[in-house]
């Protein structure tokens, strides 16, 4: 795959050209919160951001999604076709999270056509992180601040220029279509890129002991450790809703009389209602069981099912938990380190 240079004075044109052809999504600042949203001009792009508060998963797996309309048992209209989209400015951890969501929504046994359609029609342009935050621990979670995984194109911010690297054929195609804005790389650019990679990895200060964690958790379902960890947890939905890999949902009918929509809504394993059964029985009675589920799912079950830890180390849950229940500390406690 190719590596090219985009000088920053051309960044605006680069984005404008994309906006002409695609729906372009990028980090924007909306009412004080950063999130991925459609932009219509390059100026809307958030100026300085480390990573968005809201993860980009909602562009593929929206908070609420009407699957179809129905009337008297008849399906009226189905999922509209998505248009071609580009997401600009994703971070490598979030790009990785999409590959994890693929395993869930586009797996061997179950396929979610809505999710798959969006994935297929989206090209992802990520930007490598030069300065990880103090809450970032992606290198412990199978990715890195400069990882290509999940991106179609990866940019390196070299100061004056971006080094533009195509990762997939989809990315290559996009680069080719904007070839006139790009120039060839010089030896010095490659050197700068290598430096960026080096500092990014050195700057990564936070980590969790994921090695052997799955095996460790194997026998820990009934461990007394869970009795204490959950005590301060409020059982809110912040850590799951803001997590780029959490993907639980609930399906409800929003109907008036016999006409309405079948809607897929986000749900969270941290909510008591998540597991309540028709009989009234709730197998996960307290925050203890719910927090255990969250940890088990991320670090054990998903490793069994998909061979991957369902945490990419973005640190969103760490930053936003209202009681500072830090997932890194929980993992350390579990692994006894």
């Amino acid at each position: 795959m190719t590596e090219k240079i985009l000088t920053k004075d051309k960044q605006e044109e680069f984005l404008s050209r994309l906006i002409k052809v695609y729906q372009v999504f990028a980090p924007v600042e909306k009412e004080g919160n950063s999130l991925f949203s459609q932009i219509n001009t390059p100026e809307e792009l958030a100026e300085e951001y480390r990573n968005t508060k809201r993860p980009p998963k909602e562009l593929f797996f929206p908070h609420s999604e009407a699957l179809f309309r129905f009337r008297k048992g008849q399906v009226l209209e189905e999922n509209p076709n998505e248009v071609e989209r580009v997401i600009f400015g994703m971070r490598p951890c979030d790009a990785k999270s999409l590959t994890l969501l693929d395993m869930v929504f586009n797996g061997k046994d179950f396929k979610d056509p809505y999710f798959i359609a969006r994935r297929e029609k989206t090209t992802i342009i990520s930007i490598a992180c030069a300065r990880p935050q103090i809450t970032c621990f992606c290198t412990s979670c199978g990715t890195s601040p400069v990882s290509e995984e999940g991106s179609d194109i990866l940019l390196f911010d070299l100061g004056e220029n971006y080094l533009v690297k195509s990762i997939t054929p989809k990315g290559q195609q996009l680069i080719d279509s904007l070839g006139d804005l790009l120039t060839d790389t010089q030896e010095s650019d490659l050197k700068k890129r290598d430096e960026l990679i080096k500092t990014a990895l050195v700057e990564m200060k936070s980590e969790i002991p994921t090695e052997g964690l799955k095996e460790k958790l194997e026998g820990m379902f009934d461990s007394p450790i869970w009795e204490k960890i959950h005590l301060k947890c409020l059982g809110c939905g912040i850590c799951t809703y803001l997590c780029p890999t959490c993907h639980c949902f609930d399906i409800v009918d929003e109907a008036v009389d016999s006409e309405g929509e079948r809607v897929k809504n986000w749900d969270s394993c941290m909510y008591p209602q998540f597991t309540i059964q028709a009989s009234g029985l709730n197998p996960r009675l307290s925050n203890k069981e719910r927090l255990r589920q969250r940890m088990m799912h991320k670090f054990n079950y998903s490793v069994s099912n998909y061979g991957q830890t369902f945490c990419v180390g973005c640190g969103r849950c760490v930053r936003n938990c209202p009681v500072n229940l830090d997932i890194r500390e929980i993992v350390k406690l579990i692994s006894g380190k």
Partner: protein, 328 residues
């Protein structure tokens, strides 16, 4: 501060060693700068981990009703004595619990701490304009922050207090078993309802705009509800499904219905501890709404929340001459 902290540790050690409490809820150092984290101490030795500083924002009263509820499996309530560290506002939440019979007074040891106001982390983050905070500590009424470039920044604590602390009228807990000796050095704002009044004076369309804008940020994580000590219902109306009161979609109307329902449930009960607003990850100005009710409860019924256990809650009582003007 330091003195309060050592007195607090001393008290905790004593209570635990004498068996006067089985469990003590306090604060310990958090994992991130500008944060402490709630902790549950049951061993005497753990008392040294307790901290007291300007980052003790969480309202620990939120844990009380759950601790005294019967175990869902055995349906029995474990006999235990619980100690809790409270600031003025947290204490007033406890008064609410006692009034509403959620917590047995005899099993509770209230450790009051005179409060000098807590820091609003969001204000400091905003001040640093995107620069990351690596370290923070408190020193002589100042907050010392080290940013990512290693630069030290000194901030006057008074400028970064939580909004709820700036209008607090009860820095000293009104009810306690033990009061830690200490100062409360703070002045309340001259007009505590200035923000509410400012909104009241706007046009109806502008008020709707404000409400709509705030609600549009909501991700429905329910942290505001779960952080509120008074939102202790084992099953919230927002989650009841037979009948379903509020839809679970992200339709703005459903989000608004949730908030209207929740906030109205706190009418005459909310003590303005600010826990809901502090917990909200999206920075929604919930206190503007809760304070409107506090103001009206005061105006209409002359009632102040969280000061007396005996006085009946304003919506569970009435006067023959209550305002009737608005009724046809």
């Amino acid at each position: 501060m330091k003195q309060i902290q050592s007195r607090l540790r001393q008290t905790a050690r004593q209570l635990l060693s004498e068996g006067k409490v089985d469990l003590l809820i306090g604060y310990r150092q958090g994992s991130l700068p500008l944060k402490t984290t709630p902790c549950f101490v049951s061993q005497e030795e753990e008392a040294v981990g307790l901290v007291w500083n300007s980052f003790c924002t969480n309202n620990l009263a939120v844990y009380l009703p759950g601790l005294f509820r019967p175990d869902p499996r055995s349906r029995k309530r474990e006999e235990k004595k619980v100690g809790i560290v409270v600031k003025g506002c947290d204490c007033r939440s406890v008064v609410g619990h006692l009034k509403e019979d959620q917590v047995p007074r005899e099993d509770l040891v209230i450790i009051g701490v005179p409060c000098q106001g807590m820091i609003d982390e969001k204000k400091i983050v905003a001040k640093l304009e995107g620069k990351e905070i690596i370290k923070a500590k408190e020193q002589d009424g100042q907050i010392l922050v080290v940013d990512e470039k290693g630069q030290e920044i000194r901030l006057a604590k008074g400028n970064f207090l939580r909004d709820s602390c700036q209008v607090c009228q009860h820095p000293v807990p009104p009810l306690y078993d033990i009061l830690i000796e200490g100062e409360t050095a703070r002045q309340a704002l001259s007009d505590e309802y200035a923000e509410v009044k400012e909104l009241e004076e706007r046009s109806i369309d502008q008020r709707w705009e404000f409400f709509q804008r705030e609600m549009s940020k909501c991700i429905r994580c329910y942290a505001c509800r779960n952080a509120c000590p008074l939102c202790y219902c084992p099953e919230c109306f927002a989650e009841q499904s037979q009948p379903r009161w509020v839809g679970t979609t992200d339709d703005p109307s459903d989000i608004m219905a949730f908030h209207l329902g929740r906030i109205f449930h706190t009418a005459g009960r909310c003590v303005d501890c600010g826990a809901c607003e502090a917990a909200c990850p999206m920075g929604i100005e919930l206190r503007k709404l809760t304070r409107k009710l506090i103001k009206d409860v005061e105006e209409l019924f002359g009632y102040e929340t969280g000061v007396s256990v005996e006085e009946p809650p304003p919506l569970a009582t009435y006067k023959l001459d209550d305002d009737d003007e608005f009724i046809k």
